[in-house]
């Protein structure tokens, strides 16, 4: 996490009120934009990132140097066409790529650590809405998100119904299930069990904090992003750089090696405390609960067009979760489309090449 990079920052002029009852003073929102805002400011598309995503949706990651996480979807002539649209992507508060989060300095000049207030998905959107205000964007042509990004899109539609004309929710859900919470809890416990976590107060110490714990958290989570079918196809029981089992605890299998690589790579670019805070926000997410226990109530004031997309091998946020949202939108006679696409990569399918997804995204945002 040592690399110095200078994100584009918006300083929120007022304290951000939070669902916990606390507030966040002096919040900064790191963001990227692509394309040009037209004169009547009607061509803005907000893209919301997933748990470990960031604002670099279509530009190289400043730490890893890798292409943007949705580079294949966003750009000139691409499904989210930056020749037509002004694309905004903001790092959520609580994260670690420039927006205010647990590793940011509190008013006493020391990192927040666990003093950072617990936030929710709606709180993240409060930060993003403040940014949109700052950019002078009253109404979005569309808000788009996959996974946790989809939760943010739904939260925007439910809480700021006049601010988006189109709401595109991919591989997502309106609430975290017991299984979703369970996997996140495994990750959090892995981080907090690492002595280097030090109750979240590790920023001043040598080294990079609870890397081992964070790597395990990432490994566990990564399994949930893939399908059994995809894992079997990609790795099977194949051995890693060896002809026979070692009768030891090296990474004998390719899948072990792959997960270890994913885990350690992740610690280079992500802050462990941010992982705790953001997974917590996702676990607290239940739009119905915010709206008197009835999901349909959440969208009663919305005139937006909705489109939900699920993937048939996604067992993290399965099709039934999208249908649950569609059901609620139908109950309020909202303009909603839904399609379940076929792909073998599980939850991660939304990030991978998929011609049908491209056509749905383009058609929905253009139409």
């Amino acid at each position: 996490m040592a690399s110095a990079f200078v994100p584009k920052l918006y300083k929120v002029p007022q304290d951000l009120p939070l669902d916990s009852g606390q507030s966040l003073p002096g919040a900064e929102i790191a963001y990227e934009t692509y394309g040009a805002l037209n004169d009547d400011k009607s061509n803005a598309i907000l893209i919301c990132h997933a748990l470990t995503g960031d604002q670099y949706v279509a530009s190289d990651h400043p730490i890893t140097g890798k292409p943007g996480w949705w580079d294949r979807m966003v750009g000139p002539g691409k499904p989210i066409d930056t020749d037509l649209f002004y694309v905004v992507c903001a790092n959520v508060i609580g994260s670690c790529l420039g927006s205010t989060g647990p590793k940011s300095l509190a008013s006493d000049g020391k990192p927040y650590g666990m003093r950072f207030p617990v936030i929710t998905i709606r709180d993240m959107m409060r930060g993003t809405i403040a940014l949109l205000d700052g950019l002078g964007i009253e109404t979005l042509r569309g808000v788009v998100g996959g996974s946790m990004g989809g939760m943010q899109a739904l939260s925007l539609a439910a809480n700021w119904p006049e601010r988006a004309e189109r709401v595109l929710v991919i591989a997502s859900t309106a609430r975290h299930s017991a299984q979703n919470i369970a996997f996140h809890e495994v990750g959090r416990q892995a981080i907090m069990a690492d002595p280097a976590w030090a109750d979240g107060d590790y920023y001043a110490h040598e080294g990079n904090g609870p890397e081992a714990g964070l790597a395990v958290a990432r490994m566990a989570a990564h399994i949930t992003y893939l399908s059994e079918e995809g894992l079997t196809e990609k790795f099977g029981r194949r051995l890693q750089d060896r002809d026979a089992k070692s009768f030891g605890f090296d990474a004998d299998f390719q899948i072990e090696s792959y997960l270890r690589y994913q885990g350690s790579g992740f610690t280079q670019r992500f802050d462990a405390n941010s992982y705790l805070y953001i997974t917590r926000a996702m676990d607290y997410f239940d739009i119905a609960e915010e709206h008197g226990g009835k999901l349909a109530n959440a969208f009663a004031d919305s005139n937006a067009r909705f489109c939900l997309v699920s993937f048939d091998t996604d067992w993290l946020y399965p099709t039934s979760e999208s249908r649950h949202v569609v059901h609620a939108l139908n109950a309020t006679s909202s303009k909603v489309s839904f399609v379940e696409l076929s792909a073998n990569a599980g939850h991660d399918s939304f990030l991978l090449p998929h011609n049908q997804l491209d056509r749905v995204v383009r058609g929905f945002l253009d139409g």
Binding site: R305, C307, R323, V326, H327, N330, A331, S333, K335, V336, S337, F338, V339, E340, L341, S342, Q356, R359, V360, R362, G363, F364, D366, G367
Partner: protein, 198 residues
């Protein structure tokens, strides 16, 4: 509207006459009818379609279509959610056409329903003289692979509507893709279209 199938063309003509109506097209296919309604008279139609490839086509045309089985998705909608529902040549593929009719007339006061007429003389003669399930222009698929699991005739439909306490407002009959008159329709019509109300 030249490219609309004959029954859908009639429905489009009728619905376009009064813009502002709300319409749900059940089994909307590639959204041809919905697109015409939107483009001709600004009607904001919604659709249900079971085939994901066709749903994708609809969405990429800017239409609002939910993928799923019509009977399950219909149950999502509150009573009187729409002014009209449309069921174009889909009734005979439904697991329970009687329940589908009930659902249509629950979510809308009026429905346009079209279907291939199994009592058309060609079908009758194919069965009578051929002794086998008919394969005709109107019913081109063999019995073992057809999606038409509940064949229905004009007279069957009339009596179903009556049984459900609903009313037939208007009807159209077609042969060789052209509208024909009412007399002897149960013999002469390859396809029938009814406007039903509750």
């Amino acid at each position: 509207m030249a490219d609309l199938r004959f029954d859908l063309a009639v429905i489009a003509h009728e619905l376009n006459a009064v813009p502002g109506r709300t319409v749900l097209d059940v089994g909307c296919g590639d959204g041809a009818l919905m697109a015409v309604l939107r483009d001709k008279s600004g009607i904001d139609a919604r659709g249900i379609e079971i085939d994901p490839g066709l749903v994708e086509k609809c969405v990429s045309r800017g239409l609002s279509v939910v993928q799923g089985d019509a009977n399950q998705v219909l149950a999502d909608y509150p009573d009187n959610a729409f002014d009209y529902t449309v069921l174009g040549q889909t009734l005979q593929t439904s697991v329970r056409p009687d329940k589908t009719l009930e659902e249509l007339l629950r979510v809308s006061r009026r429905a346009f329903i079209s279907f291939p007429n199994f009592a058309h003389w060609r079908t009758r003669t194919a069965l009578l003289f051929g002794g086998r399930m008919p394969v005709t222009q109107a019913l081109p698929v063999s019995w073992y692979e057809t999606q038409n699991i509940h064949h229905v005739t004009v007279e069957d439909f009339r009596s179903l509507v009556k049984e459900k306490g609903a009313r037939i407002e208007r009807r159209w009959f077609f042969s060789q893709g052209k509208e024909i008159g009412t007399p002897g329709a149960n013999w002469r019509a390859e396809f029938a279209l009814f406007e039903v109300s509750r």
